[in-house]
C-alpha cells in the first residue's frame, strides 16, 4: 500500500482497540445512500518507476527552448545551493510555523526575507509572502482602501501599462468589495503613463494610484512625478515593481518626496524557476504606519523565557484564524517555500551580485533590441529608458512567427495583439543575464530567416 505502513497485524490490533470489526465500520455515520465504493474514472496505481518514466517522457515531449519571454516571469540563473537547501526535509515538509519554538528555522528565514524585501523596496516592513505578483497587487488595492483614512471612493487609478493579467486579477479579486478601478492610458511615444491622463482626476476622491516600475512594456515610468502627483491629490501610491530592477533603479521608498505607501511585486526572479507558471511568490511591503492593515503572515523578533533572541509569528490579530470575518485578508497558506528560496537566492547574490544581474539585464536587452531591429521590418515601439523588456513592432501577425520560432527551438516573446490591439503586430521580448551574445545572434538569425531577411552582422 503506497505510503501506508499498516500491516495486517496492525490493522487487527487497532480495530480491536477501537472496538469495531472492520475498517468499513468507522464510516457508519455517513448516510449509506451517499457512500461510494469505487472511483471508476481514476486510473489504476503506478509504481514510482512507472510514473517517473511517464513524467520524463511527457517532459521530454515538451523539450527545452531558448527563452525570450518575460511578461511577468523571468529567467535568471538560480544558484545551485538554493533548491538543494529548500528541499531539505526540515524546510520542505514543515507547516506554517504555528509552534514557534519548533520552527525557528522557518521563522528566522521569514524575518530575513522581510528584511531583504524592506531593503530592496526601501519600505519599512514586509510581510512573509502573498501568492504571486498579481494577487499581491489586488491585496494592495484592498489594503489601500483600508489604510486610507480619508478617502471614501475606493477608487484606484491603474495605468494600462500594468501587466494585463495583474489588472484582470486585481479586478476579479477586489470586485466583491465594490472597489472601482479606473484605467489610465499611456503615452504612445514613450510607452509610459501619460501625466496628462492624470489631469482629469485631479481633485477627485482617489484612494490610490498604482505605479508600475518598470512597466509591462519594460519601459521605466516617471515614478517620481507620478508619486508627487498622487500624494498632492490625496491618493496613496502603490508601487508594482520588478525586484531585480530595484538593484539599479530608485525603489518605491525613494519615489517622490516621501516614497510610495505600498510596494508589491513578484519575487519569482529570486530563486524561483519559470516552472510553467508557478508557484511564484508575491511580495508586499509598506510604510510602518500601515502595518496593521497588511495581509499575510509576519514574523517578528522577540525573546524567550531565558531572554534569548527568537522569532515568532506576530500581529496575528490581522489574520483570519483570529479575526475571521474581519481579517485583513483570507490568506492563510502562502508561498513559504518560495519565500525561503528567494531569501537564500538574495543572500547568495548580495548587493553586488544583484546589481550585476540588473546591469546585465539592461545591457542584454539593449543588444537584443539592436539585433532584432537591425533585421529590418522590425522597429522598437517606444523610446526612453527600459529595463529588460521591449516592445517590437512587426510587419505581420506575431502568433504564426512565434510558432515557427518555437519549432526552431526559440520562444521568441509574448504576442501583445490581444491586450494592446492598438499597437498592431506587437511583440514583447526580454533578455536577462542568462541570454548570451550567441543566443541573441541565434534568435536574430532565425527570425531574419523567417522574415525572409538576413540579420545584420
Amino acid at each position: 500500500m503506497p505510503y501506508i505502513p499498516h500491516t495486517a497485524a496492525d490493522v487487527r490490533a487497532m480495530l480491536g482497540r477501537i472496538g469495531v470489526e472492520r475498517i468499513e465500520d468507522l464510516f457508519d455515520e455517513i448516510p449509506r445512500a451517499l457512500r461510494v465504493d469505487a472511483l471508476p474514472g481514476v486510473p489504476p496505481a503506478l509504481s514510482e518507476m512507472e510514473v517517473s518514466r511517464l513524467a520524463a517522457e511527457l517532459a521530454a515531449r515538451d523539450g527545452r527552448r531558448l527563452n525570450f519571454i518575460g511578461a511577468g516571469a523571468y529567467e535568471h540563473h538560480i544558484p545551485a545551493p538554493v533548491w538543494q537547501l529548500v528541499t531539505r526535509g526540515e524546510i520542505y515538509s514543515a507547516y506554517t510555523p504555528y509552534q514557534a519554538e519548533a520552527s525557528q528555522g522557518t521563522l528566522q528565514i521569514m524575518y530575513e526575507y522581510q528584511s531583504m524585501i524592506a531593503a530592496l523596496t526601501g519600505m519599512d516592513v514586509s510581510n512573509a509572502s502573498l501568492y504571486d505578483g498579481a494577487s499581491a497587487l489586488a491585496e494592495a488595492c484592498l489594503m489601500a482602501v483600508r489604510a486610507h483614512r480619508r478617502s471614501r471612493s475606493a477608487r484606484i487609478l491603474m495605468p494600462v501599462t500594468v501587466n494585463p493579467a495583474w489588472r484582470r486579477a486585481a479586478r476579479a479579486i477586489t470586485e466583491g468589495q465594490g472597489i472601482v478601478i479606473d484605467e489610465l492610458p499611456y503615452d504612445p511615444a514613450r510607452g509610459i503613463t501619460d501625466p496628462k491622463a492624470l489631469e482629469g482626476h485631479a481633485g477627485t476622491d482617489l484612494t490610490a494610484l498604482v505605479v508600475p516600475q518598470p512597466n509591462f512594456f519594460g519601459q521605466l515610468e516617471d515614478a517620481d512625478a507620478l508619486t508627487r502627483w498622487a500624494h498632492a491629490n490625496g491618493a496613496l501610491v502603490i508601487g508594482a515593481v520588478n525586484p531585480v530592477a530595484l538593484a539599479l533603479i530608485a525603489p518605491p521608498g525613494e519615489w517622490g518626496e516621501g516614497g510610495a505607501d505600498i510596494a508589491v511585486g513578484d519575487a519569482q526572479p529570486f530563486g524561483v524557476p519559470l516552472s510553467s507558471g508557478g508557484p511564484y511568490v508575491g511580495f508586499m511591503a509598506s510604510r510602518m504606519e500601515h502595518v496593521r492593515q497588511m495581509p499575510g503572515r509576519i514574523a517578528g523578533r522577540t525573546v524567550d523565557a531565558d531572554g534569548r533572541t527568537g522569532y515568532t509569528l506576530t500581529l496575528q490579530a490581522r489574520e483570519q484564524h483570529i479575526r475571521r470575518g474581519k481579517a485583513t485578508s483570507n490568506i492563510c497558506t502562502n508561498q513559504g517555500l518560495l519565500m525561503s528560496a528567494a531569501t537564500i537566492h538574495l543572500a547568495l547574490l548580495g548587493p553586488v551580485g544583484l546589481e550585476r544581474v540588473a546591469d546585465a539585464c539592461l545591457a542584454r536587452t539593449a543588444e537584443l533590441v539592436s539585433a532584432l531591429t537591425s533585421i529590418g521590418a522590425i522597429r522598437c515601439a517606444f523610446a526612453g529608458p527600459r529595463f529588460h523588456e521591449a516592445v517590437l513592432l512587426l510587419d505581420r501577425p506575431v502568433a504564426p512567427l512565434l510558432e515557427a520560432l518555437a519549432s526552431d527551438g526559440i520562444v521568441g516573446g509574448h504576442d501583445l495583439s490581444r491586450d494592446y490591439p492598438e499597437l498592431g503586430h506587437a511583440l514583447l521580448v526580454c533578455a536577462t543575464e542568462t541570454r548570451t551574445a550567441a543566443d541573441i545572434e541565434r534568435y536574430a538569425v532565425s527570425l531574419g530567416r523567417l522574415l525572409g531577411r538576413a540579420a545584420a552582422a
Partner: protein
C-alpha cells in the same frame, strides 16, 4: 556552548560575496535620475556562509521528515519525494508559462488528467486548478456563488452562512467577497443545529460554507437534510474540502449535493507545506456554477491541449493569478494521484480514519476527554483539556509545548474556537501504529507531569533551540525587519 545562529546580515562583511554567482560584469546605461540613491543593504556573505547558515536554520525546524506532526486540519502526511523530483524535471522548470501551447502539451496533459481525477473524486461537473491555496479556492467558490445569483438577477442574496466550527478562512473569504457572514451554532454532538440553520436561512442567503467532516472531526450526519433546506431556500452549498482525507473514495461532495468545493492539494494530495506554502486550492463545481469558473482551465480538443480563458468562458469570475496558478504544486499532486490510483485513494480514507479512531481510543484510555464522545473520529478528532486545566492549571498550550520536548510536533491548539482547551489531532494515514503509541505514551507522561509538577510543564519547552517565546512583546515592540546600524 553553541552560539545561537546569527542573522545572515550579522554574518555580512563589506566586500565579501558568493562571487561564483555573479554574472560577468557589464556596464549598462541608465539615466541618473532613475537610479537608486540608497545603498542596497543586502548581506555580503560567502557561499559557504550562506549554505552553512541556512542548513543550520533548517535543523531548527520540525518537519514531517523528522517528526510526527499531528497538526489537526493540516494533514501533515508524508510528502513523497518523487513528487518533488518529477515536478523539478528541467523541461517543466524551464518552460515559460506564456510559451506557445504547442511547447507544453506534455505539461498540460498532466494538468488535464489532474482535473479529471479531481472531478472523479469529488463528483463535480468541472474543475479549475487555478486557485493558489485553499483560501483562494474559497474565494473563487464564493465569488462564483455571487456571480450565479447576480446573473439570475437575484442581487439581494448577500449572506453566507458559516457554522461556528468553520475554519477562519471561511468567514474571511465571505467578507472578502463582500458578503455578510451569518454564524450558526453547532450542537453538542458536533452536528449543525438545524433549527439555527432554519433561523439563518432567508431570501438574503447566498449560500452556506460547510466542512464535512467538519473541523470538529465528525461527519455531519444531517447533510442530506441541510442540502435540502439550503437549496430550498435558494442558497447554494459550498464544501470546504481543504481536507478530503477522510472521504476519498468513500463519499463525494457532488453526491451530497454541493455546488462548489475547493480542495487543498497541499493537504489531501500530499504536496509539501514548505513552512507555509505553496498550496493549491483547485475548485470543483456542479453544473450550475460551471460557467463561472476562474480561468484559465485546461481543455482538450482533438487530442490537443489548450488554455481556456475569458474568451471561452465569458461569465468566468476571471483570473486570480498572473498565470495559471501553482503549476509545480499541481504536478506534484498529479504524481501522487497516479501512484495512488483509485484503490490507493480509498485507502487514504480508510487508514487515516483508522489511525484517528485508534489514537482517539488510546488517548481516552489514557485518561483524556474526547470533545465529542460517542462520535466516530473522521481523519482527525478533538480532545479537550478543560478538566485538566481546571484541576492542574496546565492548559492546552502547556501540553503542546511539552510535546515538543518529547520530539512530537504539537496538535492544533485552540481551534476550533468553540471547544475549550482543545487539541485537534490529525495523525494521517502515513504514520505507523508504533508512532501513535509513542505519542500516547508522551501524552500520558505529560498528564502525569501536569498532576505532579505543573510548573515544569508551564516552562516547556526545554530542549528546543529556544524556550517559550514572548508573543506579547513581539506584537508590542514590533521588530519585523533588520535595519543596518546607523553608521
Amino acid at each position: 556552548m553553541k552560539k545561537p545562529e546569527p542573522l545572515i546580515f550579522e554574518l555580512s562583511q563589506p566586500g565579501r560575496g558568493a562571487t561564483a554567482q555573479h554574472p560577468p560584469g557589464v556596464t549598462a546605461e541608465l539615466p541618473q535620475r532613475l537610479r537608486r540613491r540608497s545603498r542596497l543593504p543586502l548581506p555580503e556573505v560567502s557561499e559557504l556562509q550562506a549554505v552553512r547558515h541556512y542548513t543550520r536554520l533548517s535543523q531548527m525546524n520540525f518537519g514531517i521528515d523528522t517528526q510526527f506532526y499531528p497538526l489537526g486540519s493540516c494533514t501533515m502526511k508524508y510528502n513523497p519525494r518523487i513528487c518533488n523530483s518529477l515536478a523539478l524535471l528541467p523541461e517543466f522548470l524551464g518552460r515559460h508559462p506564456l510559451a506557445p501551447a504547442s511547447t507544453g502539451q506534455g505539461f498540460m496533459s498532466c494538468l488535464f488528467e489532474l482535473q479529471e481525477m479531481l472531478r472523479q473524486v469529488t463528483g463535480m461537473a468541472a474543475v479549475s486548478l487555478t486557485p493558489m491555496a485553499g483560501a483562494q479556492g474559497e474565494f473563487a467558490g464564493v465569488a462564483m456563488i455571487r456571480a450565479y445569483h447576480r446573473a439570475r438577477g437575484d442581487t439581494a442574496r448577500n449572506e453566507i452562512i458559516v457554522p461556528d466550527a468553520a475554519h477562519g478562512t471561511n468567514p474571511a473569504t465571505a467578507s472578502m467577497c463582500g458578503m455578510k457572514v451569518r454564524e450558526i451554532a453547532s450542537r453538542p454532538d458536533g452536528d449543525v443545529d438545524l433549527a439555527a440553520l432554519d433561523a439563518a436561512l432567508s431570501g438574503a442567503t447566498a449560500g452556506i460554507m460547510l466542512t464535512n467532516p467538519s473541523t470538529l472531526g465528525v461527519f455531519e450526519r444531517n447533510i442530506v437534510e441541510i442540502e435540502r433546506r439550503v437549496h430550498a431556500a435558494g442558497g447554494l452549498l459550498y464544501y470546504d474540502g481543504a481536507n478530503l482525507n477522510a472521504i476519498l473514495g468513500k463519499v463525494r461532495p457532488g453526491d451530497m449535493g454541493f455546488d462548489v468545493i475547493h480542495m487543498n492539494l497541499h493537504k489531501t494530495f500530499s504536496t509539501p507545506h514548505g513552512g507555509g506554502g505553496p498550496g493549491s486550492g483547485a475548485v470543483g463545481v456542479g453544473p450550475r456554477l460551471a460557467p463561472y469558473m476562474p480561468v484559465p482551465v485546461v481543455s482538450k480538443d482533438d487530442g490537443r491541449y489548450r488554455w481556456l480563458d475569458e474568451r471561452d468562458l465569458p461569465q468566468s469570475i476571471g483570473r486570480l493569478s498572473g498565470f495559471m496558478g501553482n503549476s509545480g504544486v499541481l504536478l506534484r499532486a498529479w504524481v501522487y494521484m497516479r501512484i495512488l490510483g483509485a484503490e490507493g485513494m480509498r485507502r487514504v480514507a480508510e487508514y487515516s480514519t483508522l489511525n484517528a479512531n485508534y489514537l482517539l481510543a488510546r488517548l481516552v484510555e489514557a485518561g483524556f476527554d474526547a470533545a465529542y464522545p460517542g462520535r466516530r473520529a473522521s481523519h482527525e478528532f478533538i480532545i479537550t483539556l478543560k478538566r485538566q486545566a481546571r484541576e492542574t492549571g496546565a492548559n492546552a498550550m502547556d501540553f503542546a509545548k511539552r510535546l515538543l520536548d518529547h520530539g512530537y510536533h504539537a496538535p492544533t491548539t485552540y481551534f476550533p474556537l468553540l471547544v475549550p482547551e482543545c487539541l485537534l489531532i490529525e495523525p494521517t494515514e502515513t504514520e505507523t501504529r508504533e508512532e501513535l503509541d509513542g505519542f500516547v505514551e508522551a501524552m500520558a507522561a505529560i498528564l502525569r507531569e501536569a498532576a505532579a509538577d505543573a510548573a515544569t510543564l508551564k516552562g516547556a519547552p526545554y530542549t528546543l533551540p529556544v524556550r517559550r517565546l514572548d508573543d506579547v512583546r513581539a506584537a508590542r515592540q514590533l521588530d519585523v525587519a533588520w535595519k543596518p546600524a546607523a553608521a
